[in-house]
């Protein structure tokens, strides 16, 4: 098991070849680090001494070459070392994650998610920094040390031994000082904290202090802390500079001995000048391996502790294997036998005792009981989410603990009370059971169901309306669905006539003659889709033609003012909330732009609000262009401003886009009256497509294209009436499935947070049903659904699932029980009654009491 492996297991067993290479690289590098020393000696002793220029050039050349080579080898070794470390961490991380996912549920109840996350990311990462060099560094350190020391001793044994002997002294003194420094520093932190508390208390209680004239008393309290702080900081600097002093002393002490002794020897001709130079260089260099070895030792301790902590956290055995051994994955029939089952949790409390019952394949059982009677525990035990303790659970005669997770995954569909939905599309979530199926041996993966089947299931669980709505809110871009786009476009007039027949203000029509409150100012001016990049919103503030247009229509200054209002209001409102995208729903500033605008606002406010910088102007203008009056409620615009926008729109379409706005005006008027707007495709140019009833609007959603306008409020009754009408038409023309297919691609957000609880529940139910498992366990699966959806799913169980899957449904609502073949009644962990609804009611026992208690 991964958590039982010691840290060095990974180092000794993984990537031995690479580790060998690393060692080789370092050893080779070592040679090229000593070689220059010998060259130094020869330059002095031979080249300079004998005044030979050619020798000088040769040795210098060799010196340079060796230094370059040593540098390159060091570089390669460093890169390889980090690579190795990360590679090993990658493996530990993958193994550990796979292990973690299989741990029993109890582990996840005890361990908060944050702990698991930091253990998996931060702490392991820190181990990785150490791991790459875990073998190479000490070996190299020792080798280098030996090499330099050897070289020095070879040059002169006495001198060599003395200078090497100096190092251990330093290595003892400095860490000792460092430890004392750390101790004092810890005390300093404590004192600072208590001083802060005292000051904080004085500030909060200032009323009381001033009221009682307690100045002296409070002053004394704080003064004691301040004095202590003064002393500690002084001691800290004494120690700190002590360390520095010792370091310097030793570093200079060595050369002192060298010069003294070496100089003496050289004067007496027992030691050459060149050797002395080489010795000095070697002495300097021998310090590095010493230091590295010490650091290695500290790193080792640290990594060991971290590694052990991480592994201890996950040190539990998975309860079930992933794949079956020596056989293929079972296809079961769904006979469930529970025999004297018991389950006990810590504290000796029996959650379940002596439970026995048998369900034949296809039988549907309702599991009911008083709160806390162990219904969910029983369901989870049968679903192999917990491990049974006493008694037996058999499925088709196989003991459940002998079944692997693959057997369970294929044969049991489990819907939890609060199911989980993953980041991704609705479709991906529905197919989770198919994508996730673990591959065991040659067994084939079941083919995912067709679109028809998915949509049928979506309807069965009552998710249809939501899927349709998501589909209608999709923007179909460009060439994905040309056929669908054409047909949707054709629906527009039919729907419009229906809207006119029963007028409401659910829609703000794309009326070229009006200022639209549900569109950005940018769209209000362009009133269409720009086909050239120069007129896209991202680039428009750099577009000279557009800026000139704003100037000509007297809009530029008002726009920048508007941008400033928006920036200031939004930044002040949201500055502490930028971590949550939820709050940016009605913000004109996108979360990723927030920092820029916050800087801008604080800069301009500090400067008294006089921006002259064109970059600032551009930013504010950009913000104003993205302003949607109906959504961004932090500011409002005047009628006069709206008229200026309309004037700009006219000039843009006429002069810049080169399209006939008069034609569009007439077409729109005809359309709004319910007449034929004219042949399609008239108001397009290579640069622009106008929002005219004769065109498909590429930047708008399916629904907006059909109704030719923006629905005003998302949940309003009128909008839903409108949507109903549109859906009827889609169904009649056979387009509904296509639109729903778009809706299946709706992104549910992280943990499905863009869904309601009911929607998540429905997705989970559909996900389990789609697998068509022979055993279905529903743990209050419909509890958070409205009555209609609940009834719908109940009907599906009765009509489609009956006879095809054994069902255990934990139910809270007892009015659903008559439909079940058997009702199992639990009380305080025991199975007290079992039978059909009529039998139990006639009997007048626990179920009767439960049923009437609820009425």
């Amino acid at each position: 098991m991964v958590t039982q492996k010691p840290l060095f297991y990974w180092i000794l067993h993984r990537h031995r070849l690479l580790q060998g290479c690393l060692l080789l690289l370092i050893t080779a590098g070592l040679f090229f680090r000593i070689f220059p020393l010998e060259m130094q000696k020869r330059i002095v002793n031979i080249a300079i001494h004998l005044k030979k220029t050619d020798q000088l050039l040769l040795y210098c050349g060799l010196y340079l070459g060796a230094v370059l080579l040593a540098g390159m080898l060091k570089y390669a070794a460093n890169v390889l070392q980090k690579y190795l470390g990360q590679k090993i961490v990658l493996e530990i991380r993958n193994d550990l994650y796979a292990h973690m996912l299989r741990l029993p549920l109890g582990f996840f109840r005890r361990t908060p998610p944050g702990t698991v996350i930091t253990a998996m990311t931060g702490e392991l990462g820190a181990v990785g920094h150490f791991i790459g060099g875990a073998l190479a560094v000490p070996i190299t350190g020792l080798l280098t040390l030996a090499a330099f020391a050897g070289y020095m001793i070879w040059l002169d044994p006495l001198l060599g031994v003395i200078s090497i002997a100096l190092y251990p002294v330093e290595l003892v003194v400095v860490p000792m000082l460092q430890r004392r420094y750390n101790r004092v520093n810890t005390r300093r932190i404590d004192v600072v904290r208590s001083a802060a508390d005292t000051i904080g208390e004085a500030v909060s209680g200032i009323h009381e202090i001033q009221g009682n004239a307690g100045y002296r008393l409070e002053g004394e309290k704080a003064a004691a802390h301040f004095r202590r702080l003064f002393q500690l900081v002084n001691r800290l600097s004494v120690l700190k500079f002590g360390i520095k002093f010792t370091n310097n002393l030793f570093q200079n002490f060595g050369p002192f001995i060298l010069f003294l002794l070496g100089g003496y020897l050289a004067i007496h001709g027992k030691f050459s000048l060149g050797a002395l130079v080489a010795f000095l260089s070697a002495y300097e260099k021998v310090y590095d391996p010493w230091k590295e070895l010490i650091e290695y030792y500290q790193g080792l301790q640290d990594a060991r502790v971290r590694y052990r902590r991480v592994m201890e956290r996950f040190d539990a055995a998975p309860e079930f294997s992933v794949c079956p051994e020596g056989r293929g994955v079972y296809d079961l029939e769904g006979r469930i036998e529970v025999d004297h089952l018991g389950y006990r949790i810590e504290g000796q409390m029996d959650l379940l005792k002596e439970i026995s019952f048998t369900l034949s394949p296809g039988e549907q059982a309702a599991l009911v009981g008083f709160s806390g009677s162990g219904k969910s525990t029983l369901a989870m035990l049968v679903g192999q989410l917990y491990r049974r303790q006493q008694g037996r659970i058999l499925i088709d005669g196989h003991e459940i603990s002998a079944l692997s997770k693959s057997d369970i995954g294929r044969n049991i569909g489990f819907v939890a009370q609060h199911p989980f939905v993953f980041h991704g599309s609705v479709r991906e979530n529905l197919l989770y059971g198919f994508h996730s199926a673990a591959l065991c041996g040659p067994s084939e993966r079941a083919a995912p169901p067709e679109r028809e089947r998915l949509l049928e299931m979506v309807r069965r669980v009552g998710l249809e309306d939501d899927i349709v709505r998501w589909g209608l809110n999709t923007v179909i871009s460009g060439s994905e669905h040309p056929h669908l786009m054409k047909r949707l476009f054709e629906m527009r007039r039919v729907i419009h006539r229906r809207i006119l027949a029963d007028p409401s203000d659910a829609v703000e029509f794309y009326d070229v003659n009006r200022f639209l409150r549900h569109m950005t100012l940018y769209r209000n001016i362009l009133f269409g889709d720009a086909r050239s990049d120069a007129f896209k919103l991202e680039r428009i503030t750099e577009n000279q033609a557009f800026i000139q247009l704003l100037r000509d229509t007297d809009l530029e200054a008002s726009m920048i003012r508007l941008g400033w209002d928006l920036a200031r209001e939004t930044v002040h409102l949201l500055q502490d909330l930028e971590d949550d995208a939820f709050f940016f729903g009605s913000s004109p500033i996108a979360p990723d732009q927030f920092d820029r605008y916050r800087d801008l606002v604080s800069r301009l406010e500090a400067a008294g609000g006089q921006p002259s910088d064109p970059v600032d102007h551009g930013l504010l203008l950009r913000l104003a262009l993205g302003y949607i009056p109906a959504r961004h409620k932090m500011t409002a615009v005047s009628r006069h401003f709206e008229e200026k926008i309309l004037a700009a729109r006219g000039r843009f379409i006429q002069d810049i886009a080169g399209l006939d706005i008069a034609y569009c005006r007439k077409a729109t008027e005809r359309f709004i009256r319910g007449e034929d707007p004219g042949p399609p495709g008239q108001l397009q140019s290579p640069v622009h497509v106008i929002y005219c009833p004769t065109e498909y609007l590429f930047s708008r959603t399916v629904l907006e294209n059909i109704v030719f306008g923006t629905p005003r409020a998302e949940d309003a009754a009128e909008t839903s009436a409108l949507r109903r009408m549109v859906v009827e038409h889609l169904a009649a023309t056979g387009l509904l499935d296509d639109v729903m297919d778009l809706g299946l691609d709706f992104q549910v957000g992280s943990k499905g947070d863009r869904l309601s609880g009911g929607q998540r529940q429905k997705i989970a139910i559909a996900r389990a049903f789609l697998k068509v498992p022979p055993v279905l366990i529903l743990d209050e699966a419909t509890a958070s659904l409205d009555n209609t959806s609940q009834a719908k799913i109940q009907r599906y169980l009765e009509e489609e699932i009956r006879g095809r899957a054994t069902v255990i449904a934990v139910l809270h609502r007892l009015d659903l029980t008559p439909a079940y073949d058997r009702i199992l009644v639990m009380r305080e962990g025991a199975l007290v009654e079992s039978g059909r609804f009529e039998e139990l009611m006639k009997k007048g026992g626990a179920f009767y009491e439960l049923y009437h208690g609820q009425g």
């Binding site: 709160s371 200054a557 008002s558 920048i560 003012r561 400033w564 209001e569 409102l573 502490d576 909330l577 949550d580 939820f582 709050f583 729903g585 009605s586 609000g609 006089q610 921006p611 002259s612 409620k633 932090m634 500011t635 409002a636 615009v637 005047s638 009628r639 006069h640 401003f641 409020a713 309003a716 009754a717 609880g757 409205d786 009555n787 009491e849 009437h852 208690g853 609820q854 009425g855």
Partner: protein, 184 residues
């Protein structure tokens, strides 16, 4: 260009923004008494306005409760359907009326219906935004929750005393409580 001081009068004639208007309305609700303006402003920012035609339903008895409502203009009638389906009028609320507020704390089924008695505009706070803002200001948030519960308990007290006056004898009250105790 000095665009901040040089206000063009015709442009600023737009009046107050929706945010400021919402803020004005929300400050007057008792649950926001002594709550810092910056926090109420977030509620003003996340709240949604909706216009109702006369007689339009705001919510129906039995549907899931997810939002609280503040009347900005118009009037709203609260009624209950008795077991035979007859409408029993309970109350008519005027502008400033705040109802459905327990939905901010937990989901339940509306025990009554709300219907616009005249064309009305409501400010709607949903539970999700309510919570998201609440957790940002834990201490103040708790204070708001306390106020909500106090408001509810005050109403319950008046309901209970009303009930006591209309029920004869302690035995029937006993009956009432037993059912309540058994249902869980």
């Amino acid at each position: 260009m000095s665009f901040i001081t040089d206000r063009d009068e015709s442009d600023s004639a737009a009046g107050r923004s929706e945010l400021v208007e919402n803020l004005e309305a929300l400050r007057r609700i008792p649950i926001f008494r002594d709550i810092p303006l910056e926090m109420i402003k977030l509620y003003a920012y996340t709240a949604r306005r909706q216009a109702y035609r006369s007689d339009e339903l705001v919510f129906r008895q039995g549907s899931p409760a997810r939002e609280a409502f503040l009347i900005l203009s118009g009037t709203v009638r609260l009624w209950m359907a008795d077991p035979e389906g007859h409408q029993v009028d309970l109350q008519v609320l005027d502008p400033g009326g705040f109802f459905g507020y327990m939905a901010l704390l937990a989901e339940y089924e509306w025990p009554l219906s709300a219907q616009a008695a005249s064309p009305a505009e409501l400010l709607i706070v949903d539970r999700r935004s309510f919570r998201k803002i609440l957790v940002r200001y834990p201490e103040k948030g708790f204070q708001i929750v306390e106020r909500l519960v106090q408001m509810r308990m005050a109403r319950m007290k008046s309901h209970m005393s009303l009930l006591m006056r209309h029920i004869d004898g302690a035995s029937s009250l006993d009956e009432l409580y037993r059912i309540d105790a058994l249902s869980r």
